[in-house]
């Protein structure tokens, strides 16, 4: 019978019987099957192995498995945001917008970059390696009691916020910060945090310092955090704000989304309204929403 020799590197080179099959010879479709078991960064790494891998690494079937369930909704928001800001950067791979012609890999890459919405007061992105949806809502999008009163609150520009400014509280009796968001979350569990900083972050002579003179009132009574969803999930926690000079993510609570196609309405708040004492020296940056199992690298978390 004797199998005829076929090209060692041909994409259809299999079933040759005697000669050795190597990974480099497998049809692209089979390589794509292997890639399904790798995570996105690993896929991007093996794309560089050879041409067959490069091809397989761009296959829609590979990235379809990585995209969040409601990626079409997210891609449409990204495309709208890109149109609005006139983005047509031709930065390879990740500049192209989520037009209907974009392949799924490009959609994934684009969604990894933050997409601003609601006038830049909110952002969403997906975690590079898990495809999990993350959101951040600036204090600028929240209702803060007496925000316009310069005796109490001011807007502090800072590069330590992804929104380039935070709300700074000098002193107040009644602290109430309320926010809400309507969004389609891929089904799953999520955690919500307030990102806060005691003291004014400053840079002096190139080094970061924090002014602690005005911090007061946080150790008298705890601050109350609340979260509720349109489908009646509720979470509350109370913490004494602590660790001046560092950004802390205070964990408010968790919620579960069961359908990727339904709008979830969230309401969240932080309050300290005990009027027997004033409190101040606080930066309120934003609220973050992460998938429940998200690995937090840089910042400190105060858990419930």
């Amino acid at each position: 019978m004797g199998a005829g020799a076929s090209s060692m590197m041909g994409p259809e080179g299999y079933g040759r019987g005697r000669s050795q099959t190597s990974l480099g010879d497998m049809p692209e479709s089979c390589v794509a099957l292997v890639l399904l078991y790798l995570d996105p960064q690993e896929i991007c790494l093996v794309a560089r192995l050879n041409r067959a891998f490069r091809g397989a690494a761009s296959a829609d079937c590979v990235w379809a498995a990585k995209l969040p369930a409601n990626y079409r909704y997210l891609a449409a928001l990204a495309a709208a945001a890109d149109d609005e800001c006139g983005c047509d950067e031709s930065t390879e791979g990740n500049g192209r917008c989520c037009s209907s012609a974009a392949i799924k890999k490009e959609i994934y890459a684009r969604l990894c970059r933050p997409t601003p919405f609601h006038g830049g007061t909110k952002e969403f992105w997906i975690e590079k390696n898990s495809g999990g949806l993350c959101l951040s809502i600036s204090s600028k999008a929240m209702a803060i009691t007496c925000i316009d009163d310069r005796r109490y609150w001011s807007l502090l520009p800072t590069e330590e916020s992804r929104f380039h400014s935070v709300s700074y509280l000098q002193q107040i009796w009644w602290l109430e910060v309320v926010g809400e968001i309507d969004f389609c979350f891929p089904a799953g569990s999520y955690s919500l945090f307030f990102r806060l900083h005691l003291g004014l972050p400053r840079k002096r002579m190139g080094r970061r310092v924090s002014g602690s003179e005005l911090i007061h009132g946080w150790d008298i009574k705890p601050t109350q955090f609340q979260l509720s969803t349109s489908d009646d999930q509720h979470s509350t926690s109370e913490r004494y704000l602590e660790r001046p000079g560092t950004w802390i993510l205070y964990h408010v609570g968790d919620f579960v989304v069961s359908s990727s196609d339904e709008l979830t309405k969230l309401k969240f708040s932080m309050m300290q309204i005990d009027c027997t004492h004033t409190k101040g020296g606080l930066c309120v940056d934003s609220v973050f929403i992460y998938p429940k199992d998200h690995q937090h690298e840089k910042e400190r978390i105060i858990c419930k």
Partner: protein, 185 residues
């Protein structure tokens, strides 16, 4: 393609009360497999249902040593499925421990099967499982290859799998830019 079988008779014959099918590998070897096991392959299932198997099913894309492993896998999984179907306590819903343990044992068996293969045997098995459409086998084999790649640099992977880098320098540079998004922070 089908050789004279003589007294071997129809391929779909009974052996110990079980219907068998005959398969012929690309290098002319004959194998027998229970029909229950053959059902795990969507391709074979369709061929059997189509009825054209009297003289055996030729598989010109699958070599003997690979077909042997395919049959091992399918027979093992068909037996395990039959066992859990006929387990009276499964119907009563009280043996979730048993089913979990049985499932774990099967997974261990799968891992042992793929771990015992040389690289080229493994790739041949992937290609065969893809061609024969045997989902579980494809899953076990592809997962194994993926595990061998995890945590390694492209150069290390090339060494392990003997892959030729057929990119030009320009293409490599292009690739770096194309995938920069995955590694920037």
């Amino acid at each position: 393609m089908a050789a004279e079988k003589g007294e071997k008779g129809a391929a779909a014959k009974e052996v110990a009360g079980e219907r068998m099918v005959t398969l012929e590998s690309s290098d002319g070897e004959e194998f027998h497999m229970s029909e229950a096991a053959a059902q795990l392959s969507t391709l074979l299932r369709h061929v059997i249902e189509g009825g054209g198997i009297d003289n055996g099913i030729p598989l010109p894309k699958v070599a003997a040593r690979t077909l042997e492993k395919v049959i091992m896998y399918c027979e093992k999984h068909a037996k395990a499925a039959a066992k859990s179907d006929s387990d009276p306590s499964a119907a009563a819903g009280s043996s979730s421990d048993n089913t979990a343990a049985a499932s774990e044992d099967l997974e261990k068996w799968d891992r042992k099967l793929v771990n015992g293969l040389s690289q080229d045997a493994l790739f041949d098995l992937i290609v065969a499982a893809d061609y024969l459409v045997i989902d579980g086998l494809l899953d076990a084999t592809c997962r194994k290859v993926a595990d061998m790649m995890k945590g390694k640099t492209p150069d290390e992977i090339r060494k392990i799998f003997n892959i030729l880098n057929d990119f030009t320098k320009e293409e490599e540079e292009e690739m770096r830019r194309e995938y920069a998004w995955a590694f920037d922070d």
